[in-house]
C-alpha cells in the first residue's frame, strides 16, 4: 500500500513548504516509495553514461596522439571546421583555435583555445555530438586523438603529447579562470 504523500509544488516559495511536508512524512512513514520502474543494469547505465567532468571523472579507456589526431581531423572535422581550424562559415562550423586574450575586447573571438574553460568539455562534446553528419560515431581512441590535435594546434599541449584519461584530466585551459557566477538581479530598480 502506498502511504507516501506527494504534494505537487506550485512555484519556488510554496514548493519549499511542500518539500518539508514530503520529507517529514517520509520520515514518519519510513522509506516507502511507489516503486515503479526497474533497476537498470550496469550495462544499461554505462551505455548512456557518456559524460566527462573537469576533475577527470568519466573519461573512458583509450588514448590518442597529436599525430593520430591530425588524420582523424582531416577526415572527419576539416570539412566544417576548416583545414586550419579557422571555421567554415558556409558549413556552420565554428573556429576552434585563435582569439586567445580577445575575450572582453572589441575583437572578442570565442574558440576552444580562447574561451572554453575545461578540456573535459572538448572530449565530452565531440563524443556526444560530433561529427555533425555522423554524431556519436567516433571511437574513444579517435576522440582522444582529435582532442590532442586540437589542443596542440591551440598551443596548449606539445606535439608529442598523448591524451588519455590521466593526461587529459590534467590539461589546464587558458581561460580556466574566465567564468563567474550569475550575480543577477544586477539592475536594482525595485519598488
Amino acid at each position: 500500500m502506498i502511504k507516501k504523500l506527494t504534494v505537487p509544488s506550485r512555484g519556488a516559495t510554496v514548493a519549499a513548504g511542500a518539500l518539508v511536508v514530503t520529507l517529514s512524512f517520509a520520515a514518519v512513514a519510513g522509506a516507502e516509495t511507489f516503486g515503479f520502474g526497474t533497476t537498470p543494469t550496469e550495462q544499461e547505465i554505462a551505455a548512456v553514461d557518456i559524460d566527462v567532468m573537469p576533475d577527470g571523472r568519466g573519461y573512458p579507456e583509450g588514448s590518442g596522439t597529436v599525430a593520430q589526431g591530425k588524420e582523424v581531423y582531416a577526415s572527419k572535422c576539416a570539412a566544417c571546421h576548416g583545414e586550419n581550424m579557422e571555421g567554415v562559415k558556409e558549413a556552420g562550423g565554428a573556429a576552434l583555435i585563435g582569439g586567445r586574450g580577445s575575450i572582453g575586447t572589441p575583437k572578442t573571438k570565442k574558440t576552444v583555445e580562447s574561451y572554453w574553460p575545461y578540456a573535459s568539455t572538448l572530449f565530452d562534446y565531440v563524443k556526444r555530438a560530433m561529427p555533425f553528419n555522423e554524431p556519436g560515431s567516433m571511437s574513444n581512441d579517435e576522440i582522444y586523438a582529435v582532442s590532442a590535435y586540437i589542443l596542440h594546434k591551440a598551443k596548449i599541449i606539445d606535439a608529442n603529447a598523448t591524451m588519455n584519461a590521466e593526461t587529459m584530466g590534467k590539461v589546464e585551459m587558458p581561460n580556466k579562470d574566465g567564468f563567474i557566477p550569475d550575480p543577477r538581479p544586477d539592475v536594482f530598480n525595485y519598488r
Binding site: A12, T13, T33, D49, D51, T121, D124, R184
Partner: protein, 480 residues
C-alpha cells in the same frame, strides 16, 4: 482610407559597428528571415483589396477571391471541383460556397477525428536561417496571439541536432549517480506517478539578441518571438528524487536528451527539488515532437535551453558537469572580460504586441493596447504602459488568471490623437523587480567588452514602438 504601409525593407547599416563575427552572422540571419516574411506579405498585399487597416490579412481575402473565382468557374462547367493543395501549414483547403446556408457543410468527423485550423489562418513560425536546418530555431508569431496560451504548433523551437523521431514504447529515462536506488522508467511508468499540470512560459535566453544596441528587426515576432506559454503536465521531479533516494552531498543533476546533439545541461539540485517536472503533456495532449516527445524536463523560469527535450538520463552529482552548452554557449561576457555562467533565471519582461512593428493604425481614435508580461521569478504584479515615450506611466489591467512564471496578458485603453507617439510597457513582478531599460542593463553588464554591441543572452529591457502620424508602427527600442 489609408493605404497600408508598404513594408520598408531597408535595415540599419552595421558596417560602422565592430561586431564580433559570430554575432554579426546571427543578426544578419535574423534580418534575412524577417525580410523574407515581409516580402511574402508585400507580394500578397499588392494583389489584394485588403490593404486597408491595421490587421492586413492578405491570405484571407486573396483566398476567398480565388476560391470564389474557382467556384464560379466550376459552376459554369469550366473547371472540375477539385480541392486545391495550397492550404497554409496546419490547414486543409476546402471549396468555399458562395452561401454556406444553401449547401450542406463538410461531413462530421471526416477529418479522421483530429481537427485542423481554418484555411484562412496562415500565421507560422519563422525559421532563423542558420547554415543547417538541424541546428536552428523558429520564432512564435506573437502579434497574432490571443490570451496567454501559445498554440502547440506555434511554440518557438530551438534544436541543436534536429527533431528526433522517438517511439515512446522503446524510450526510457535512467536516473542514476549519487542515489540509493538507480531507476529506469518507461514512459508508462512515469505516467503512473501522481501528476501535476502547470501553465508556464519558456523563453530562450537569446530572445531579443538583435536589439541590445539599437532597433534592428521590425516585428514583435522578430524581437520577442522566442517565448511561448503552454500548459505542461507531468510528474514532479521531486517525486522521482524521493524514489531513488538522493545521497547527502548531491548538488547538481545532469539532464540529457536523446537527440543527435545528446543535449546536456547541469541543473542545481535545489531547483530539481522545488518546481522541476518531467513533462509528457502539453496543452491537453502529448508533447509535440519538436517540444520533446515523449518526455522533456521543465524548469519553470529558467532559460529555455535547460528544459532538456527527449529526456533520456538524469545523473545526480556533487558538481556541475561543465557541458558545452553551459560554458561555450549561454554564458554572458561582461565588461570586466569575465563570463557569467549558470545565468538561469529569465527576469521580468514585457512587450506590447498590438500595436507593434509593421502594423498600421487606420486613423485617430480608440485603440486597446495589449501585450504580454512575464517573469521567471513568479507572478506579474503590475504592468505599466507609457504612450509618451516614458515620461508618464499608467497601470494596465491584467487579464486573469495571473499565474506564476506564466505569460500574463495586459490591456490598456488608449485614445490616439493622431500625433506621433512612443508607446512602451514595463513589468513589475511579485519580488518588486521592475523591468529595466536596456541602457541600464548595458551600463551594468557592459556590451561584451564593446561599446556598441552587447552580449547575446538575457536581454529583458523595455521595448518601445513608435507610431507615426500616418499610423505606421516601427521598432523604437532604446527610445524609452
Amino acid at each position: 482610407m489609408t493605404k497600408a504601409k508598404n513594408p520598408d525593407l531597408t535595415y540599419p547599416d552595421l558596417s560602422n559597428y565592430e561586431i564580433p563575427e559570430d554575432k554579426l552572422a546571427q543578426i544578419e540571419g535574423m534580418r534575412d528571415a524577417e525580410k523574407r516574411a515581409l516580402m511574402a506579405r508585400k507580394a500578397e498585399l499588392e494583389e489584394c483589396e485588403c490593404r486597408e487597416g491595421m490587421f492586413p490579412n492578405p491570405m484571407a481575402s486573396r483566398r476567398s477571391f480565388f476560391a470564389g473565382a474557382a467556384a464560379a468557374a466550376a459552376a459554369a462547367g469550366s473547371l472540375p471541383m477539385v480541392a486545391r493543395a495550397a492550404a497554409p501549414p496546419g490547414a486543409k483547403e476546402f471549396e468555399v460556397p458562395s452561401d454556406p446556408t444553401k449547401v450542406q457543410g463538410r461531413l462530421t468527423n471526416d477529418d479522421g477525428g483530429y481537427g485542423s485550423r481554418s484555411q484562412f489562418e496562415d500565421e507560422v513560425r519563422w525559421r532563423f536561417p542558420t547554415k543547417t536546418k538541424e541546428s536552428s530555431w523558429t520564432m512564435t508569431p506573437l502579434a497574432a496571439g490571443m490570451g496567454m496560451i501559445t498554440p502547440s504548433g506555434l511554440h518557438f523551437e530551438r534544436h541543436h541536432g534536429g527533431i528526433p523521431t522517438i517511439n515512446p514504447a522503446s524510450h526510457s529515462l535512467i536516473v542514476h549517480g549519487m542515489c540509493d536506488k538507480p531507476k529506469k522508467y518507461s514512459v508508462a511508468d512515469l505516467k503512473r506517478f501522481p501528476s501535476d499540470s502547470r501553465i508556464n512560459f519558456i523563453e530562450c535566453s537569446g530572445n531579443g539578441l538583435t536589439e541590445f544596441k539599437a532597433p534592428y528587426l521590425k516585428t514583435v515576432q522578430g524581437t520577442h518571438g522566442l517565448t511561448s506559454t503552454s500548459e505542461w503536465t507531468g510528474v514532479p521531479l521531486s517525486t522521482i528524487l524521493d524514489e531513488v533516494g538522493v545521497k547527502p552531498g548531491a548538488a547538481w543533476i545532469l539532464a540529457e536528451g536523446a537527440d543527435a546533439a545528446v543535449m546536456t545541461r547541469s541543473v542545481p539540485i535545489d531547483k530539481a527539488w522545488s518546481d522541476a517536472m518531467i513533462a509528457y503533456g502539453q496543452n491537453g495532449e502529448a508533447l509535440r515532437p519538436e517540444q520533446g516527445y515523449p518526455i522533456r524536463l521543465m524548469l519553470p523560469g529558467y532559460e529555455g535551453n535547460t528544459h532538456i527535450k527527449w529526456l533520456r538520463r538524469l545523473e545526480i552529482s556533487d558538481k556541475p558537469f561543465q557541458t558545452r552548452e553551459e560554458t561555450s554557449k549561454y554564458t554572458d561576457v561582461v565588461k570586466d572580460g569575465k563570463a557569467r555562467q549558470f545565468s538561469f533565471t529569465m527576469e521580468a519582461k514585457s512587450v506590447i504586441t498590438f500595436p507593434s512593428g509593421e502594423m498600421k493604425l487606420p486613423g485617430p481614435g480608440f485603440y486597446e493596447i495589449t501585450g504580454l508580461a512575464w517573469s521567471g521569478r513568479g507572478r506579474v504584479k503590475d504592468v505599466e504602459v507609457s504612450t509618451d515615450g516614458g515620461k508618464t506611466w499608467h497601470l494596465a489591467s491584467l487579464q486573469g488568471p495571473i499565474l506564476p512564471i506564466c505569460h500574463t496578458r495586459f490591456r490598456f485603453p488608449w485614445m490616439w490623437d493622431g500625433n506621433p507617439a512612443l508607446i512602451a510597457s514595463r513589468c513589475i513582478d511579485e519580488t518588486g523587480y521592475m523591468q529595466p531599460t536596456i541602457a541600464s542593463i548595458n551600463e551594468v553588464r557592459g556590451v561584451n567588452g564593446h561599446p556598441k554591441f552587447a552580449s547575446i543572452y538575457h536581454l529583458n529591457g523595455i521595448m518601445a514602438w513608435a507610431i507615426g502620424a500616418d499610423g505606421s508602427v516601427v521598432n523604437a527600442v532604446h527610445k524609452v
